[in-house]
Symmetry: C2
Subunit: 432 residues, 2 copies
């Protein structure tokens, strides 16, 4: 029994009206049965970024499993006359039965990288366009921004805490994408449940304000959570807050958090004060409008952990990855839009990445599937099978695999590829 | 029986870990029972915008109804040791029983406007912070951007078609927010189902590429959908595409769509060509990376409808509204963060907007609830009751009410408030 029928969580209407009208026309004139290849790629990286990070692939596979037209969806389409009765009958039996290959999660991508290819009849593959793009565009945008932050943090842990700044369900996916990209933990409890990501959190300013004094709030927190907790010291005066924090929790206090102001300067003063109070092992966590640039600027400061919210869940200036889903092959024949603008390359493609003997990436080579270029010793094929005949393949990479893959990928970039400034992609894409 | 138990769609974990740890501490030390007022407001409008648009309020009320800790949520919190067993028992019985007032959807807001106030015990009200902010921050960001586009379109219809550029569930909420802000239709079928928004769509480039020729594709579409459809004419050569379109559909062709290139120039040429072919009533729809500035620049061109995607679902440069949820009153006593940065104003507040006799808005007056300033003849109270004792009030405004409210609101702005350039808020906020 399909999950969609059981739970009422069909993903089938998370799509654009025109997928259904195209389907209706294609079923009528017989072209719906043609074998097609659709390809997901990005024409460019946003904002002068130097690399992108693939994320969302696992969510895509789950969403396809739930892509079912149950009675509820069919009734809606009938009542709004989106499609005719023949098309409704076809939809009632719809299951995606095709094949999907793609870049695994955590893989780097560049302009033109064939991030995902979907093979099936036109009818079955065209329906997935919107849902696949929604997931990949969102999750990859977040992971791409988060990777820059992880890289700027240079080993210091980052907690993702931006759920409140984005749609309540985006928040869950954003926590996942940030974790994939190296964040240590998230504040989002649903991401903890769905994806097993470790969650963290202690108290907000409201907790201090609720109490008759800062000291009363700290006492309540330490009584409940022990001295190894994080006390938020900037509700009133930070210096007094730190003094009170150490008085209440003792020098065993786990951490303080500073959430406002010039956090670099404040962290330095806080470190001196904590050390003077004997709280030499008390960590300093900073938060408040941090992005990758702010994190990089704090590298020399005595900061032990970062809390990042708005900037990561909004993709730090690039809230979408701009990926498209293009028909590239029909019955084995390459097809492509040929107009002056937004032209694309036809034919099913594969990709490999060339590296120097030292492991440094040199170029992304995109080639017609089945016609690989001469292989070098340090080339690496980038695509893996994800789905066969509508079923996910065995042993798909896990979220942890993706984290490790990205870590290796970032190490392989030429040094200028890790710069935060605007620039060209870290490696060129060659079409062979 | 609560929907959450029936459908497994509890919203209770769409929240931050620290809400639960604060709750645990507050239940233990007894402060959890204190009567509190939390206030949602924005410190500033993003990006030099001149007004914001409230959206998401109706979704907030639905989400609170589904905020239940069922066995599944309690098990997760127990297994991950987020809270202790006393807190778990408390959560098992959790229902929000407090009161909520706020700006209705479609109302304009400005820095400091008390968009929503939540009254209840600390324990019950603190839990809602993240979920309420997620919804209001997302939906208001989209509506605020969409309103600028509607205003720039000056009566020409806009179809929202950006679902593929944002998280799959954000897409549904974004379609709703865009519709609230004056968009005519959406491509998103789930938004059609959930909110009754009219959906539209015909075909993509893939449909043309699927066929052996553009003519074959147009014939298939017209055979299925009639001549009053929209043919996409820019897959190959636009001039030939238009010629073929009119040959196939006749001069009764409903519309053409141009999705790439310099759409202003192309629309002008297309209009001439269509007129010369006798297709004088055939409409021209343009799409492709349009935002409010591009729409404004097309005002003098013969464009009949706009399709807007990426820019609207990403808030056109401001993907979040930056609203916060602050504790402002405890047991009747005003409270506020007093540190140097991010200071806020304590006490429960209400708001009214002053207008000239002509109806033009003059200022937003925020005042302590129960102490209204002297009322002028053209003042209008801005907040309405939304929830009483945990139940939504009767006769809540509908989505259509919100559309009309916003239309009236935009008309009331001083003329410079509708400028698209960066600037100050259209009216000042005064705290009395």
């Amino acid at each position: 029994m399909a999950p969609a029928e059981l739970t009422g969580t069909s993903t089938a209407l998370l799509t654009d009206h025109y997928e259904l009208t195209m389907l209706g026309s294609a079923l009528t004139d017989g072209t719906g049965d043609r074998d097609c290849v659709f390809e997901v790629f990005a024409r460019r990286l946003p904002n002068g970024r130097r690399y992108g990070v693939v994320a969302g692939t696992a969510r895509v596979l789950d969403a396809i499993a739930d892509f079912r037209f149950t009675d509820a969806e069919l009734t809606q389409l009938e009542q709004t006359a989106v499609v005719d009765s023949d098309t409704l009958s076809w939809l009632a039996d719809y299951r995606f039965t095709g094949d999907i290959d793609g870049y695994p999660e955590g893989e780097l991508y560049f302009p033109g990288s064939p991030i995902l290819t979907v093979r099936g009849t036109f009818a079955e593959a065209v329906l997935l366009e919107t849902l696949l793009l929604s997931i990949l565009n969102h999750d990859s945008a977040i992971a791409s921004a988060a990777a820059r932050m992880s890289s700027a943090a240079a080993g210091r842990p980052i907690i993702e805490m931006g759920g409140r700044r984005t749609h309540e369900m985006s928040a869950v996916a954003a926590a996942r994408a940030a974790y994939l990209a190296g964040f240590a933990t998230t504040s989002n409890l649903e991401a903890g449940r769905r994806y097993g990501i470790p969650t963290r959190g202690t108290t907000a300013h409201a907790f201090v304000l609720l109490h008759d004094s800062e000291e009363a709030a700290f006492r309540a927190q330490v009584a409940k959570m022990g001295a190894d907790t994080t006390l938020l010291v900037d509700t009133y005066d930070i210096t007094k807050g730190i003094e009170t924090a150490v008085r209440v929790a003792g020098p065993e206090l786990g951490a303080i958090r500073i959430d406002s102001g010039d956090v670099g300067v404040l962290a330095r003063k806080a470190r001196e004060q904590l050390d003077a109070l004997g709280a030499k092992d008390t960590r300093i966590m900073v938060s408040g409008d941090l992005d990758e640039h702010a994190i990089a600027a704090l590298r020399a400061e005595p900061v032990d952990a970062y809390g990042v919210g708005t900037s990561v869940v909004t993709g730090s200036g690039a809230p979408t990855a701009g990926m498209v889903y293009k028909l590239v092959e029909v019955n084995g024949r390459p097809v492509a839009k040929r107009s002056e603008h937004k032209a694309s390359r036809g034919g099913r493609k594969s990709a490999l990445r060339r590296h120097k003997p030292t492991g440094t990436a040199l170029e992304e080579v995109v080639y017609p599937t089945g016609k690989p270029p001469e292989r070098g010793e340090h080339d690496r094929e980038l695509m893996i099978p994800l789905m066969r005949s509508g079923q996910p393949v065995d042993d798909l990479p896990t979220l942890e695999d993706g984290r490790q893959r990205l870590r290796r990928g970032l190490v392989s970039l030429p040094w200028e590829g890790l710069k935060l400034s605007h620039g060209e992609p870290a490696i060129p894409t060659t079409f062979s």
